[in-house]
């Protein structure tokens, strides 16, 4: 009995293998676990707790208020508008970026050995920041003055009068400005992902289809290329969607006016709303509540989208 206990005890605490491996494991993985704990899990728990309290000008809870923050949030038209804005934005930007990136990939792929230069050109914008791109779009490309690039082109073509691209609400030209920024910045990145997907498709499938009489072009694309890139397409769609829902930089830099306050804004996506509430009104509790709603929305739609397309079925 005693020897059995000692044996078990020795195995538990002095077995060279389990002790050494446990120590080594934590040295390697510990920093990550600690970091995720402090910067992901504690914030979520703290934020969740805080969202049921009042917390103005302080990040610590002051008074329990129950669901008031959530009720106020959904009673705030600015928040509801921000959800509408981001849905419109995602509906515009996701399919267009998807189609353009895929189109660029097909074009570049078809060049074979000569593709290098074009691939680089379409890919360079990836190195650029949203702030710099917003700056170019706002003060030069779509500057509302006659000296703006787009207005210059319109004048040269047909003496069309200058358009105030950013401040015209009817028609809402600012969507064109916002959409093209993101398109320019993102399409090269997703083109590379599609190119990787295209290269995964075995050549033999195309050869076999040629033998069966399929014509190269649309038919081949429709029945072979596109279905073969199912997983790539789904993951691109999910990534585009997640990024669109977290849009902040271009809205803040292109649409915010009136100094740095950024209070008057034509279209305000959820993250800009949260920024305004948490960092300008200093209402951290409502900011935290709002962030949960947005994060939950993104996660739910991601899962639903994944299920809808059957993502993961082939992965595991």
């Amino acid at each position: 009995m005693k020897s059995k206990l000692t044996q078990a005890f020795n195995q538990r605490f002095f077995s060279s293998k389990s002790k050494k491996d446990g120590f080594e494991f934590w040295v390697f993985v510990g920093p990550l676990v600690l970091g995720l704990f402090i910067f992901v899990y504690i914030p979520i728990i703290w934020g969740f707790f805080l969202s049921f309290f009042e917390a103005r000008n302080t990040v610590t809870p002051t008074k329990f208020v129950g669901l008031t923050n959530y009720i106020d949030l959904f009673g705030d038209t600015r928040f509801i508008n921000s959800l509408e804005t981001v849905i419109i934005f995602a509906v515009i930007i996701v399919p267009i970026t998807f189609a353009l990136s895929l189109g660029l990939a097909l074009l570049v792929e078809s060049l074979g050995a000569n593709s290098g230069v074009f691939r680089t050109i379409f890919f360079i914008p990836t190195a650029c920041s949203y702030v710099v791109a917003s700056l170019i779009w706002k003060t030069s490309l779509f500057n509302g003055l006659p000296s703006g690039f787009a207005n210059n082109i319109l004048w040269v073509i047909n003496e069309i009068n200058p358009i105030a691209w950013i401040h015209t609400t009817d028609p809402p030209y600012y969507w064109l400005v916002l959409g093209t920024v993101r398109l320019w910045l993102q399409s090269g990145f997703y083109m590379i992902i599609f190119l990787a997907g295209l290269q995964e498709i075995p050549r033999t499938i195309y050869e076999a289809s040629m033998v069966d009489g399929a014509k190269p072009g649309w038919q081949t694309f429709r029945h072979i290329t596109f279905p073969m890139m199912r997983n790539t397409s789904i993951s691109v769609l999910l990534l585009l969607f997640i990024e669109a829902f977290q849009a902040f930089d271009e809205f803040r830099n292109i649409l915010a006016t009136g100094g740095s306050s950024g209070t008057q804004i034509l279209a305000r996506p959820p993250l800009v709303y949260l920024y305004n509430v948490a960092f300008q009104d200093q209402n951290y509790a409502r900011g935290a509540a709002g962030a949960f709603v947005i994060a939950a929305l993104i996660m739910v739609v991601t899962v639903v989208q994944g299920r809808l397309f059957g993502f993961g079925k082939t992965e595991h």
Binding site: V27, F28, Y41, P43, V131, I136, Q246, A295, I298
Partner: protein, 278 residues
């Protein structure tokens, strides 16, 4: 004859490609053009293709302008992105190796713990992260800008996958030679994994250098502004000196563009792996 025919068939495709290329390069041309012009030239009605006399002095005007704060921005962005990338590479590669190679009874639980963090859309919970960073007293500090961004589960998974495919013979040989797990990792595994380090490193560098929301929230005082915050503040100011603003943009993207050209092959590899995310 056949050759001639295919060349003609390919012409529209090349026209489309050249037209698109010009569109994609247009913003870069505009940065360079405006950065070297005088204020009068930028504002003039007729589009001037290039400055009559390139205003190189715009560089010194910008760097010496105390309101623009560009020097501070450049210094902070350099420190923040390099520190963040090095920290992230060390933490992710070690965690990836631990999860791939070290047997431990809790390994599965730890893996699910990291998976949970991966599912959370990180930008959407920036208010929550701010609460903790503010409690730590890291608002308006470089630590607050750098450290929260060092824990990236996605990089960990890429490293883990990479190390799972790493030739085990090499590691076993190192162990036979008397190297510990640490010795094996630092002396054998890392030197043979340069590609994945450069890929994730450069992609991370681009991300850190270009990030805006977090630096805007954490760097509220002028001495903690990054380049992106400097440019954004410049852009929303009441009166804008456009050539100086564009010179700022040029200086702001130049380091990244240079790196981009040197290691494009590795960045492409990194992006391909990013496609697996989701």
């Amino acid at each position: 004859m056949k050759k001639l025919k295919t060349t003609f068939a390919a012409t529209p495709k090349y026209l489309v490609l050249i037209f698109l290329s010009l569109l994609y390069l247009l913003p870069f041309y505009i940065i360079a053009r405006n950065a070297l012009m005088t204020q009068r030239e930028v504002a003039q009605f007729d589009w001037l293709f290039w400055a009559k006399e390139p205003q190189w002095k715009n560089i010194t005007t910008l760097l010496n302008d105390p309101i623009a704060n560009m020097r501070v921005g450049l210094k902070n962005s350099t420190i923040v992105s390099i520190a963040q990338v090095i920290g992230r590479l060390i933490i992710s590669s070690m965690a990836g190796y631990g999860l791939a190679r070290i047997k431990y009874k809790w390994a599965n639980r730890v893996f699910f713990f990291t998976l949970g963090a991966l599912m959370v859309p990180s930008a959407a919970i920036f208010v929550q992260t701010f609460l903790v960073v503010s409690y730590l007293g890291w608002v308006n500090t470089l630590a607050g800008l750098v450290i929260p961004g060092m824990f990236d589960v996605f990089s960990v998974y890429i490293f883990r996958q990479f190390f799972l495919d790493f030739p085990k013979d090499l590691e076993d040989a190192a162990k036979v030679d008397g190297l510990s797990t640490f010795g094996t990792f630092f002396k054998i595994v890392i030197p043979n994994s340069k590609g994945v380090f450069i890929s994730l490193g450069t992609l991370g560098l681009i991300r850190s250098w270009n990030s805006f929301l977090w630096p805007l929230v954490i760097g509220q005082t002028r001495d903690t502004w990054t380049v992106q915050v400097v440019l954004s503040t410049f852009l929303t100011a009441q009166t804008i000196n456009l050539p100086a603003l564009f010179m700022g943009a040029a200086i702001g993207i130049l380091p990244i563009i240079v790196i981009f050209f040197f290691v494009q092959r590795y960045i492409v590899e990194g992006v391909k792996v990013s496609g697996l995310k989701g």
